[in-house]
């Protein structure tokens, strides 16, 4: 601790500035997310048109795209003359690296959280509430403002927590578009690699503490439902409700040009810039990435299954405590997590691969555990009791009742954990400067301005991710039908 206090004044200012920038970016990103995500989520949850269904299935694309690949894609789209600038016949990219581009990048990968949380919340509201409002004389906008909005407030808060903390903690992709600007997680990695360990630790602690504070603060807001009905403007709100066409046009253009095209731009780019790529480094990276992800998923599974069952069936405080712990781990910036894990494990171990796997275990475990807990909770105790009453012993119940019912959750959770491990950048950078997983390699290639190679591997990684997403969708679809 004393090391942190004795750090140079310049570095302290640097840390303070980075944290400030990160919070500023997170806030702006959240505001943009809400401004466009809210109407988009509303349309997606309510509309049954083919267009809406198409957009709905494309929303997750930027979540699937590994962030390092996404960072490159967004950079090429906004920052290079072959990107969006080409559409306007410009000789340079539209933006330079810096805060503006970080914001544009973060909007791309955080808006799905907002849209998903809110449209799930909207779908849960019974139609009859809005119908009641309408029969009582409320025009659509009034009913949206006074009935729907307060009822899916919790969905907005949950989505905002995810989006904000995600923006606060993203490292790999941000490094590519940051230029001279340092966000907090980027600075943490840089400090660590420069050997300034005390400062890196201090910054990590600030990040972890702020993630916990945000979570606690936002959770306190959940469930409070108050509404101000004193101000209703029937005529004005009636007119606003009629603006559906400009609204749909605006969110449509936003989705295409700010979310969708920047996400997939790298694929278009890599087709035009095919370079001989399968070098030894790249093949080695791919092998390392997949091996690490596989080992991590298997170990996760072994521990998550029994733990998930225990948590799901526990009626005590333990279950709830666990839920919030799980969330904190999800929200903590991975680079900070990486640094703290290195500090912890390097006392006992010196082999970097093991530390890398342990780090990946830490941030991917909750992704696997959560769907399993939910799946076990969804299985009524009656089923187990019925099986027992028919003479099945615990082992048979496990094998014939519980296990078959949680298989979809196992698959879903495994894919998410696997993908997270495969695409993670920040923690991996923090743990090791030698091991190059695919995302780390992409970051390094971009820093060497080898865009063609970087784009190719990014597309490859994305193809794998997309394949997994399709498998995931298939299983969740089967579960729901």
């Amino acid at each position: 601790m004393s090391n942190i206090l004795h750090g140079g004044a310049i570095l302290n200012w640097q840390i303070f500035k980075a944290v400030l920038i990160s919070f500023f970016i997170g806030l702006v990103v959240l505001l943009i997310d809400l401004a466009f995500g809210l109407p988009l989520a509303w349309v997606l949850a309510r509309s049954r048109s083919k267009m809406a269904r198409l957009v709905d299935s494309l929303i997750d694309l930027s979540l699937v795209m590994p962030t390092a690949a996404l960072g490159l894609s967004v950079y090429l789209y906004w920052g290079e003359k072959i990107g969006l600038a080409r559409l306007f016949g410009l000789k340079e990219g539209l933006f330079d690296k810096g805060i503006m581009m970080i914001i544009l990048l973060h909007v791309v990968f955080t808006i799905p959280y907002i849209i998903r949380s809110i449209s799930a919340a909207i779908r849960q509201i019974e139609d009859s509430y809005t119908e009641a409002a309408v029969t009582l004389g409320a025009y659509p906008f009034t009913s949206f403002r006074t009935i729907s909005l307060p009822l899916f407030r919790d969905g907005i808060i949950n989505g905002s927590i995810l989006a904000f903390t995600r923006s606060l903690s993203e490292t790999g992709a941000t490094m590519m578009v940051a230029g001279l600007v340092s966000t907090a997680p980027v600075l943490a990695v840089n400090l660590k690699n420069a050997g300034e360990l005390p400062q890196a630790i201090g910054l990590s602690m600030i990040l972890i503490a702020s993630a916990i504070f945000i979570l606690i603060g936002a959770k306190a807001m959940l469930g409070q439902k108050t509404i101000n009905l004193d101000h209703v403007y029937p005529r004005l709100e009636k007119r606003i409700g009629k603006l559906t066409i400009p609204r749909n046009l605006m969110i449509g253009l936003f989705f295409i040009f700010v979310i969708f095209l920047p996400t997939i731009f790298i694929i278009l780019y890599s087709f035009g810039n095919w370079e001989a790529v399968f070098s030894e480094t790249i093949i080695k990276s791919i092998i390392i990435s997949f091996a690490v992800a596989f080992v991590v998923t298997v170990i996760n599974l072994i521990f998550a299954l029994p733990l998930a069952y225990m948590i799901a069936r526990s009626k005590s405080f333990f279950g709830k405590l666990f839920d919030s712990m799980n969330e904190i781990v999800l929200l903590v910036p991975t680079s900070a997590l990486g640094i703290s894990l290195v500090l912890f494990w390097s006392n006992f171990l010196s082999f970097e691969y093991i530390i890398l796997i342990l780090t990946h275990l830490c941030f991917s475990f909750p992704l696997l555990l959560k769907p399993l807990v939910v799946a076990f909770r969804d299985i009524p105790l009656d089923l187990e009791e019925a099986a027992h009453s028919l003479g099945a012993n615990s082992k048979q119940v496990l094998k014939t009742i519980l296990f078959p019912l949680v298989i979809p959750a196992i698959i879903a959770g495994s894919i998410m954990a696997f993908m997270r491990s495969l695409s993670e950048t920040g923690a991996t950078l923090a743990v090791s400067s030698q091991i190059q997983t695919v995302p780390v390699l992409i970051v390094n290639l971009v820093q060497d301005a080898k865009f063609g190679q970087a784009a190719f591997i990014s597309t490859l990684l994305f193809a794998v991710a997309l394949l997994f997403l399709l498998i995931l969708k298939y299983f969740t679809y089967r579960k729901n039908h």
């Binding site: 019974e126 009859s128 509430y129 119908e131 009641a132 409002a133 309408v134 029969t135 009582l136 004389g137 409320a138 025009y139 009034t142 006074t146 009935i147 307060p150 009822l151 439902k225 108050t226 509404i227 009905l229 209703v232 403007y233 029937p234 005529r235």
Partner: protein, 364 residues
Amino acid sequence: MPKVEIIGLTKKFKSAKDEEILALDNLNLNIPSKKYSTLLGPSGCGKTTLLRIITGLISPTKGQVLFNKEDVSLRPPQERDIGFVFQHFSIFPHMDVWHNTAYGPLVRGWEKEDIAKAVKINLKLVGLDDRAKALPHELSGGMRQRLGLARALATHAKLLLLDEPLSALDAKIGAYLRYELRKIVKNNRLTAIHVTHNQEEAMMISDNIILMRKGRIVQTGSPVELYNYPKTIFAANFIGKCNFFTARKLSDNLIDIGGRKLAVKKNIKYDEMVIGIRPEKIHLKSHPGQALFTGKIDLINFLGHLYEYRINVNGNIIKAYKRIKDDKLPEKYREGDKVNFSISGDDIFIFPKPKDIKKELSLD
């Protein structure tokens, strides 16, 4: 106040498999002003669809809805000046009782004093005036539906539309609320259109029943008319209980029921027919010779004020009621006893024999 007219109303839906479903088939209907009308029928008959079209929540494929001769088919629900009561109450969960009731006047931009007055009157009307600050989850089901009613009435709507308002409540509470609903509607000279699948509820609450089946109107009339003069086998079967026999014409005033002759006063129009008779019109007789039928008692149900017998006549079950008088206890018949019963030609309904009797008798 409002008289509701339905002219040539048709509604088609697309099913999940993209098949076309005809929910309402060219309906024509007059719903009288200041009367309590019910749309009665089995589930899937189109009664809720009709109510939602009258409300404006869905639009018809073809046809018109008139309020006081004025076509409102294209008017959104906000501008129809109606009160709607929901099956599952749909009380706004984030507002207290007061704000729920005030919602309609509030969104219409009423003056504060008028809002307060309307809320006060209507909460008093439904007996919730001392619960104004309560939140919905603190109320019982019955109270929530009272609140639903107060909320619907707070805008001074004169046309009250009720979608199965009592079916989500406990049987006893629902039965009690029937009286209150009718009382409030009558006292305030409202026009009510009440959707239900419960014939007993419809009989007790209505001035006017509109009986529907498969997107069409089977019969309209007062409860007494529908019970005593059903126009179809379905109407006789759906409203109250009824026994059916196939019969053959012998002469203008004589029919044959399975080899037994029965004299009727009306002129018989059909050669082949189905006759219906209510269980309370079956007369149990202990002496053979007077009786028209003989059967075996399969089951005796004790209903408090009467016994219901299920009598097996060659595999057909005939229901008969016998009122319980104090001096007749204990019951002299036992399950398994042979019993004779007779029917009078004055008590029967006569229907032409349909192609498919089972289809006519099915309750959907």
